[in-house]
């Protein structure tokens, strides 16, 4: 009797443990499904790859995959991961011909773009699909239109001129790298570059320069580089500063006057 009671108690004990275990599983699973399914549900809605991204993936698989890996995770020694870089970065690199990379060097050389702007958008959409990231605001045009040129000048001189030069002509950096000239660069590209910091450029995220400030800088750069009609002469001497001015005084001024001395002395 005592033995059977003991056995029964053991059986019940085991049954209770099982019930408690099942209950705990149900609670944990329930809690999990309360909190996480929403996340899954949301993502699955956005994660449906759209038509642009599919086209982008096709281009990616033929032109980018050998360096950036088969899903943008990067390959050691060849190319960095593209997860999270966003469409702004992709479009900047592709539209300026820096990607696909012409050759490994100090930094990606600027060449002729290999893709149309539409194709670059598809590529951007695919990279966006892989991991999100920064994008150019849709109202950029309006932002630039309402920008203050003089504010932009102040910001440009503090943040940009130490590499791109006082007149946006670019400048040398160490070990063969350089800050490129800003002439002929579009508003979009300027914004993309500031937002994503391509090559050796620092990233100016929105907490460092607000979108309005970025637009100010764009307005200033376009004013001095692309719209300025060079007060002070026909030739700006490349706006390299005193270096080319020194060259000009010897090549133009001194040369003309040396020929004059020959002429005057030859007239005797």
């Amino acid at each position: 009797m005592a033995a059977s009671a003991k056995r029964r108690r053991g059986w019940r004990k085991r049954l209770g443990a099982l019930a408690r275990f099942t209950g705990a599983l149900v609670i944990v699973g329930g809690l999990y499904s309360v909190f996480s399914p929403g996340l899954y549900a949301q993502e699955s809605a956005e994660n449906t790859i759209d038509a642009d991204a599919v086209k982008g993936q096709e281009l990616y698989d033929t032109s980018c995959i050998s360096c950036h890996g088969d899903s943008g995770e990067g390959i050691e020694g060849r190319g960095p991961s593209l997860i999270g870089v966003g469409s702004a970065s992709v479009e900047f690199q592709v539209n300026t011909g820096r990607m696909p990379l012409a050759n490994q060097g100090a930094q990606a050389p600027e060449t002729y773009p290999q893709f149309t702007e539409e194709e670059a958008e598809w590529l951007g959409a695919y990279i966006e699909y892989l991991g999100g990231g920064a994008a150019v605001p849709d109202d950029l045009e309006a932002l630039v239109e309402n920008a203050t040129v003089s504010e932009g000048g102040d910001l440009y001189r503090v943040n940009c001129s130490s590499c791109h030069g006082f007149a946006g002509g670019g400048g040398a950096l160490s070990s063969g790298a350089h800050a490129p000239s800003l002439s002929g660069v579009t508003d979009e590209e300027l914004y993309q570059a500031m937002l994503t910091g391509p090559q050796n450029m620092p990233v100016f995220a929105d907490n460092e320069l607000t979108p309005e400030q970025k637009a100010d800088i764009i307005a200033y750069v376009q004013y001095i580089v692309n719209d300025d009609r060079d007060p002070g002469g026909v030739f700006s001497l490349g706006r390299f500063g005193p270096s080319t001015e020194g060259l000009a005084i010897f090549l133009v001024g001194m040369t003309a006057l040396l020929l004059t001395t020959l002429w005057i002395a030859g007239k005797s």
Partner: protein, 528 residues
């Protein structure tokens, strides 16, 4: 004889007579107007500096009417849109106003700047001519030293002018000068504090260097130039050796009318070139640099070219800092900046004395030397020129690196190695070229000119016929002494061929009727 009243001749004569009666002018005027100047293109280089200096005084006076040397802060409300509402100093504001609002102001500013560059460039070229021809030798050492001082006063005068507009570039220049001043042992920090009235940039430096720039240094320059030109008058100009020219005469043209006409024409031409450059080429666009802020340094911030070699030396010099604990530190910048500048002042000043010591040449010299005849001096000069050029390129090495797609680090190392190795190579190569040219002169004097006519012996040997420059001896040699002047090296130089037509754009001579047969017979020696 009674002269007709009212004729211009008699009027002039009368006026001259009246003036002479009162001021005793005839004697000095005769001496001055009859003064003879030798004629050679290389004797006109100093004039470029002189006439650009006059233009500097004129354009500088114009700028001084509108410039306000004040570091008081204002908010810009002028015409240049990208700076509207920006806070800046009055100095920078007035420099912007000169550029954008004063009529002709930008042209005058650019003319002032281009004239400065031309002033310094022509001083350098003039100095090279003096050096390579030995024109600095006794009795003209003093004038050489005055010339060197003129360069250095001009150097600082130019640097101060560059610092006045108080834009980003001039502030950066002043900041570098502050660093250089502070690197001087013991007195450096005190000197810097005195210069800037305390901490950089202070509130007084612009007004202080303004007075130096528009008053003190121009006066010094004017005084030095007066003495410089006066000494050329007093000691008479040097001349090249040649027919009829000795150590004791001057062969050339009189001051009036020939020389004066040429000088006036040349002056107007120089001003024309500066004006054309000021109108065509933008120089120092201060509105792009913005007001000076200590935190703002644009890339490609270079000094003007005459300061650039010092900047280059600073860029090339390794970071060798000397520390003697606990207090003394000698920064690396001291060596290229202060010691380098000191040597660049000192060595040229003492060079004439050094050369006298080494050559033991105590004579007076009024005849110039051809560079090939003094190979050691010529090679030394080329060595310095190569050193200077590498310094200048290194001063702009970031611009060079960017424009020609070269790594900046490679530029620095090429400069470091080049500035040591290339001057030595330049010395050797120049020396060999000088000796080769000398040897060829002697060869032509001994054997005659190459005629280009090839002959063949009966035994088959080919040889070139040479035209001796004098009656040869039985071996076909001529004993002609080298006179220190050009030896004819081509047949048309000795009249064997028709001389080339004269005239700048078209021939101003009628071709000779008989084909110049008579002239062909006459063969002159190099001496005559």
């Amino acid at each position: 004889m009674k002269r007709r009243k009212g004729s211009s001749d008699s009027l002039l004569t009368k006026a001259g007579g009246e003036l002479d009666d009162r001021f005793k002018l005839a004697g000095p005027a005769r001496v001055l107007l009859n003064k003879v100047f030798p004629d050679h293109w290389s004797f006109l280089l100093g004039e470029i500096a002189l006439f650009s200096f006059i233009l500097l005084l004129l354009s500088g006076t114009f700028l001084a009417l509108f410039f306000e040397p004040s570091m008081a802060h204002v908010t810009y409300e002028g015409a240049y849109v990208p700076l509207q509402g920006i806070e800046m100093t009055k100095a920078y504001e007035s420099a912007l106003d000169i550029s954008f609002e004063v009529r002709g102001g930008l042209f005058m500013r650019q003319m002032h700047h281009w004239a400065t560059l031309l002033f310094m460039a022509s001083i350098l070229v003039h100095m090279l001519r003096i050096f390579f021809t030995g024109a600095f030798r006794a009795p003209r050492e003093t004038n050489w030293m005055i010339g060197i001082l003129l360069f250095w006063v001009g150097f600082f005068e130019g640097f101060f002018g560059y610092s006045l507009p108080d834009d980003g570039l001039s502030g950066t220049g002043l900041r570098i000068m502050e660093g250089m001043t502070q690197s001087v042992p013991f007195i450096g920090p005190w000197a810097s504090a005195a210069l800037f009235g305390g901490q950089f940039p202070g509130t007084s430096v612009i007004s202080m260097i303004y007075i130096i720039h528009v008053f003190i240094f121009p006066l010094i320059l004017l005084a030095l130039i007066t003495v410089h030109v006066g000494l050329v008058f007093a000691q008479k100009h040097t001349q090249w050796p040649g027919p009829g020219r000795t150590e004791h005469n001057v062969v050339g043209f009189r001051m009036f009318p020939n020389y004066v006409m040429k000088q006036v024409g040349f002056m107007l031409f120089i001003w024309g070139v500066i004006g054309a450059m000021a109108g065509l080429f933008q120089i120092n666009p201060i509105w792009l640099f913005g007001p000076y802020e200590v935190s703002v340094v644009s890339s490609a911030s270079q000094p003007d070219f005459y300061v650039m070699y010092l900047d280059g030396l600073i860029r090339l010099f390794p970071a060798w800092e000397l520390r003697i604990p606990p207090y003394f530190t000698l920064p690396a910048v001291f060596w290229p900046a202060i010691a380098g500048m000191g040597l660049s002042v000192l060595l040229p000043l003492v060079y004439p004395a050094l050369e006298r010591r080494f050559t033991k040449d105590r004579g007076h010299h009024n005849l110039l030397q051809r560079p090939r005849d003094t190979p050691a001096r010529t090679s030394l000069g080329v060595m310095v020129v190569v050193f200077w050029i590498i310094g200048v390129i290194s001063g702009g090495n970031d611009v060079f690196a960017q424009a020609f797609h070269i790594s900046l680090n490679a530029m620095t190392w090429a400069g470091r190695i080049g500035i040591v190795v290339l001057p030595i190579i330049a010395y050797y190569v120049t020396y060999r070229i000088c000796l080769g040219l000398q040897q060829h002169d002697r060869e032509v004097l001994a054997h005659g000119l190459e005629t280009g006519i090839l002959m063949r012996d009966p035994n088959g040997r080919f040889y070139e016929v040479h035209q001796p420059l004098a009656e040869p001896d039985e071996h076909g040699h001529t004993e002609l002494e080298y006179s220190g002047w050009v030896v004819p090296k081509k047949m048309n130089r000795v009249g064997a061929l028709e001389p080339t037509d004269k005239g700048f754009f078209k021939s101003i001579e009628e071709p000779a009727e008989n084909g110049g047969a008579e002239r062909r017979d006459e063969i002159e020696s190099g001496r005559k």
